[in-house]
């Protein structure tokens, strides 16, 4: 069975500080990993996916198959980054039901 773990329910940092939102997964096949974000009073939306290897809004995430992790990082947090972040795992081939983590609430203080 596939599983996504986001160990932190809440992460609180000050503006300008580095931020890392952790995501660990368990899956034996080839994973497709995503980070979704939900800003206050907005709908859930894709932030980035590992196959595109992009940096979005200053965020990056690297898939580490050895550690089965897909942590989301930003070197300098901004107040507008405050949001709920969900890590999600989809499966390449076979079942496409994605598995979401429970989410991490990021609060960036001024």
């Amino acid at each position: 069975a596939q599983r996504v773990t986001q160990p932190e329910k809440l992460l609180s940092v000050f503006k300008g500080a580095p931020v890392e939102l952790k995501c660990n997964y368990s899956y034996s096949g080839s994973p497709e990993l995503f980070w979704y974000v939900q800003y206050s009073r907005q709908r859930l939306q894709l932030l980035l996916r590992h196959i595109s290897r992009e940096s979005i809004k200053g965020f990056t995430a690297d898939l580490n198959k050895g550690e089965t992790s897909f942590h989301l990082k930003k070197p300098f947090a901004q107040e507008e980054d405050s949001a709920m972040y969900y890590c999600a795992l989809s499966r390449m081939g076979g079942s496409y039901i994605p598995t979401f983590g429970r989410g991490t609430s990021l609060i960036v203080h001024p």
């Binding site: 986001q6 329910k9 497709e32 995503f34 979704y36 709908r43 859930l44 939306q45 894709l46 996916r49 969900y86 989809s90 499966r91 390449m92 079942s95 496409y96 039901i97 994605p98 598995t99 979401f100 983590g101 429970r102 989410g103």
Partner: protein, 113 residues
């Protein structure tokens, strides 16, 4: 075109009543998902439709929950004999193909009194 839409945006009902929640996916998207979002519980998968295939209902919490997707487009999630623990935000998402980026609707906030 427009994104995924859901209606109603809010629904307050009494325990024991039936409710229907509607989702209009993005045109051309073959995959449609329903989730339940509860405080502290994250996103709970409910049901998945892909094209004309039989839906995957493995996430439905009880037989009071059912969903259908007509003509490969609009979907309706029905909850019969609602209970207070059904109170949550129900999210619908669609994707162009299985495993692709999901586009989410704004959700329906269901409150069961």
């Amino acid at each position: 075109g427009a994104g995924v839409s859901q209606s109603p945006s809010n629904k307050v009902t009494e325990k024991g009543k039936d409710v229907e929640l509607r989702c209009d996916p993005i045109s051309g998207h073959t995959a449609l998902y329903w989730y339940r979002q509860s405080l502290g519980q994250g996103l709970e998968f409910l049901i998945y439709f892909q094209g004309n295939s039989a839906p995957d209902k493995s996430g439905l919490p009880s037989d009071r929950f059912s969903a259908e997707r007509t003509g490969g487009s609009v979907s309706t999630l029905t909850i019969q004999r609602t209970q207070q623990e059904d109170s949550a935000v129900y999210l619908c998402a669609s994707s162009f193909a299985p495993g692709d980026e999901q586009f989410f609707g704004p959700g329906t906030r269901l409150t069961v009194l």
